[in-house]
Every structure is written in C-alpha cells, then in structure tokens.
Symmetry: C2
C-alpha cells in the first residue's frame, strides 16, 4: 500500500492505493500559496490519519510515498528544481522532507510525467507503447512513457511540448511566433479572446462583449463558438492549429503509438477539440509516420496525478 | 562474431566484429542502383568469403548478421518499408532474405538509428544517456539511444529531425517555411547556393560565379565563406540557424545529455559548423533545459553504421 500525493499550483490531493489503477481513499485539499511549505506540511499531517481511518488501513501497512509535483524536479537529487507557487521551494529536498515528516521512503517526479505513467498503465493508453500524454489546461504539459517507463531526458524533465515554438495568425492574419502555451493553453485562449475583442471586426460583433473581460474564460469562448460566434471560432481555430503544428513536430521526432490528452481545454468537447485537432494533425503530417499515432481523451480525470504518483511509488520503492 | 552490413543510398559496406566497437575486417563497396537487389546479393556473396579470409575467421564462427539500412524499416516484420534507391525493395523482407542467403539469423534497422547506437555505446556518447545522434550529410537523419536501447516509436522509425518544419530567411530576408533538410542538408545548402546566385546582391559578387553551377557543393560554399565571401556566409548562416531552431525544438521535447553530429556537412569545420551551431542553439533555448545538453562531433567516422549494425546484432541475436 502506498500514499500518493499531488502538489499542484492550487491543488493538493492525497490518495491511497497499490499503484494498480485503483484508489482505496482520496483526500482533496488545496495549496495555500501564502502559507507556503508550512501550510502544505499541516495539510498533509491532517489528511493522512483521516485517509487511513476512512479506508480502514493501518499506518504500518504503508510502504512508501509517491509524489506528482507541479513543477520541474530532479531525479538524481529528488529535489524540486524551482517552484513558482511555493516560496522557499527552489532546490527543495521534497522527498527527504516527506520521509522526515512521515517516516516512509518517498519518490518524487513532475506531475505531467506521472500522469502519463498513469494513463499508460491504467488509463487510455493501457497495453500500448509509447504513450505521449498532454495536459491542456491553464498551461500545457507533456510526458512520454516507453514500455512502462517515464522518459526523463537527463533527469530534470522532458516533453515540454507547451514550450515548443509555433507560428500562428494574429488578429490581422499576419504571422507571429510564440510558444504553444501562449496560444493554446486555457490562459492563452482566454487572454487572446480578451485582447483582440476591440481591434478585430469579428471581435466587435462577438457575444463576448456582453460579459465583463475578467469573466472571459476558455469555456465561455467555447460556448459562444458552438453558437456560431465567428470571433470565438477564430480564437479556437488558431489554438487548435497551433496545437496541431506542435503535435506534428512531436510525432516527427517521437512517433508514439497514442497521444492521450487531458486537462480543462480538452473538455470543451469532441466537436470543438478532438475532431478538429485530429484533422489538423493529419494535414501536412510527415508522410512516413502518417496514420501511426492516434489521439484520444484521457481516462483518469481529476485523479490522474494521484494514480501516477502511486504507480511511481510502486515502480521505484522496493517492497 | 557478427557480420555487419551497411546498405546506404550509394554505399555498401560489410564488417566483422563482436559489436564492441572494434572491427576485425572491413569491406567497402557500392550500391549499383541499376543492378537493384540482385546486384547487392552478388556483392555480398563476393564480399563475405574475402572478409573472412582476410580476418582469418571461420564461417562457422559467425553467430548472426546486423544491418543498417538507408531507409525506413519495420521492427516487427523486419522488412524494408520503402526504398528510393533499390527498386523492388518496398515492403522487402530484408532480414529473411539475408538469412536465406547466408544461413544466419539477421536483424535490421534504420542506418541513423544504428549509428546512434554505435556512437552511444562506443563513440562520442560513451557512458552518457540519452544520446541524440544526427547525421548532417546529403540528407539529415537522427536517432535516440536511451540507456543503450534505440528509441523506435511504434517500431517504424523516429527522430526524423530532418523533417521538422523550420522557418528561415529567403534571399530577400523574408520568411519562408520548409523542412530542415531543404535548408541545412548538403543537398539543400548546395541547391540554395545555386538558386540565389543571380538574384541576390551578395550572390552577384560571390566567388561561386567563377565555377560551373554543378560544381557548387557544400564544401565549395564553406571554402568561399571562410575566405570572406558574404554570399556563402549568408547561405551557411541560414543553414546553421535552421539547424539550431530544429535542435532547440528537439531539446524542448527530449532534453538529451549529448547531441553527437556526424555526416559530410559537419566536417566543414569547427569554425563554420560546431561553434556557430552551439551559439545558435543557446540563443532562445527553453530556459529550464538550457545548458543540460552538449553538442560534439561524431567519433566513428565512415564506419559508424557498421559499428551500429554489429552492436544491434549483439543486442538482439541470442548467443
């Protein structure tokens, strides 16, 4: 039995399980950025006995801890390389800190990487290899699992597809260059939808003008696009085209068997996300690899990182 | 003891060795495209006894055959997927054909992939992982070796960095889009040098005007660039910038420990190739991975694919 911990930008989740795709207990909380590492410590100390009691599991049945962390981690030193959310966690020895706190061996990794492991072993990629996982949410993260093993480059992270450079059309249909996240992540979609509302002919006719700027979200853009709002359709088109462009580059290098996509933006629907994305990826694909990779929605939902943290612990902690 | 065979576009080489980075015999020949598969069969049948006799090795000491093929291959079926050079070799069962011919088990793979294996195990990448290998010659190929294993995607090839889309400046300093090979491979450099000679101010002043168009090669371009020819410097600048752009995208996804580069274009010199390429890759690199990957020249020269074919055989054929 392992303890899985997800420490995200805002999300703090703990789960119990054997790393086999089943959860025996789940505790949902949140990261209070102002309270920093001490706040996280207090939450974990409070959550663990509750989780164990609810699942009817003794503390001495726990073998170790797996962690999915929302930021870059170092495999060799088992430290957080840097954190934008938690002050004082630059170069922080997270695994050792958890071992000291809970008296159990701990192993840490980046959250998108362990999410990929979970989807590959127990989710939408089960039985296939290699699996490329993408989370298209507030930001865009990626992971690659080859025959059940996370690919980590030199051991400080890999598959940062959200940071691939793409070119895309601006509001005057000229070409700009930027990183994928700026155009296709939830934050990017919403901020582009706000930015061009006044300067674009279609923007001035958009239903988005009826709501306050800070209420413009990817979901609102998607709803309006589905109702025929040309401006919102254009905002989403550019996001999907850029995603397709980055995915084509990734396939040219990695030719995975399957791409599994999760995260909030992927939930706007088959009609607005997966169907146009598959068409976009197919257009202009590298011929020799065309048709070898399929694209499917993630299967493990909000618990994907917990499943991955447990699978990581099962793989790395001797028992 | 294994037999290694390299079947390239024009090159046919055979070598003997244990797959440990040492060659006990080497036979150099060429592929006669007009003679097709039958021509290759005749050359192999002629070469093997000569090789064995020169090395003083008995035929029954051979355990198996490894092949590096200059085109896409299928791991599962051990067939050539397609060949531009050898007619009739689309979907050709190359491993079985060699087994029937020589009475030995055979394993085949793409030439850039086995070259990467050789450089990773016995060349410029020794002791490090992951290793990304590039050959920048007439075309541009790539390979990735992780802990001694070739990464092959779904088993039909991967790491086709020469087919990444890059944007680059044309002769009027406008932006164009194309694949890396068109700009930075030997063929691309020479053809761009020919194409803009008359239309570009610098081109009309270039020393290349003194030679026949079909004598313009990457080597000539490099020699003129080194002598201060502005046009040739510009042709090479664009090639190096595009290579750098593709390598930055690759690092964002794969963050390998080392990039090993071989092939004719890489031999134009440290001053014209490796030094400017390292500067270009560093500029605008994804910050989190900056400085984690170094770039070095290949170590195994003209025999790299033979070393890789032997290492492949050693890894895959039971003995």
């Amino acid at each position: 039995m392992f303890l899985g911990i997800e420490i995200g930008g805002t999300k703090l989740q703990l789960g119990l399980g054997e790393g086999d795709g089943k959860l025996l207990g789940l505790w949902r909380g949140s990261v209070d950025a102002a309270a920093g590492g001490e706040g996280i410590r207090q939450e974990i100390v409070r959550a663990v006995p509750q989780l164990l009691a609810q699942a009817g599991i003794q503390r001495n049945e726990l073998i170790g801890i797996g962690v999915g962390f929302g930021g870059p981690t170092d495999d060799a030193t088992q430290t957080v390389i840097k954190s934008h959310h938690i002050s004082g966690w630059h170069g922080f020895p997270l695994a050792k800190w958890l071992t000291d706190l809970l008296g159990l061996p701990a192993v840490i990794c980046n959250d998108a990487d362990v999410a990929c492991l979970a989807e590959a072993l127990h989710g939408a990629g089960q039985g296939l290899s290699p699996i490329f996982y993408m989370t298209v949410g507030t930001g865009i993260g990626g992971g690659l699992v080859i025959d059940g093993q996370i690919y980590r480059g030199v051991g400080k992270g890999a598959c940062e597809i959200g940071h691939l450079v793409v070119d895309y059309r601006d509001e005057n249909d000229g070409y700009c260059e930027g990183i994928l996240e700026q155009v296709s992540a939830g934050w990017g979609i919403a901020s582009r939808a706000r930015a061009y509302l006044g300067s674009d002919r279609r923007g001035r006719a958009s239903a988005l003008n009826a709501i306050a700027k800070d209420e413009i979200t990817t979901l609102r853009v998607a709803e309006a696009a589905r109702s025929g709002d040309e401006y919102c359709q254009w905002i989403l088109d550019v996001a999907i085209q850029s995603l397709g462009q980055a995915i084509r580059q990734m396939i040219t290098l990695l030719c995975p068997r399957r791409i599994v996509i999760g995260g909030g933006v992927s939930l706007i629907g088959e009609d607005l996300f997966f169907a146009p994305l598959r068409r976009e990826v197919a257009q202009g694909a590298f011929e020799a690899f065309a048709g070898l990779t399929d694209i499917v929605p993630a299967a493990l939902g909000e618990e994907v990182v917990i499943h991955g943290a447990l699978a990581l612990a099962r793989d790395r902690i001797p028992f």
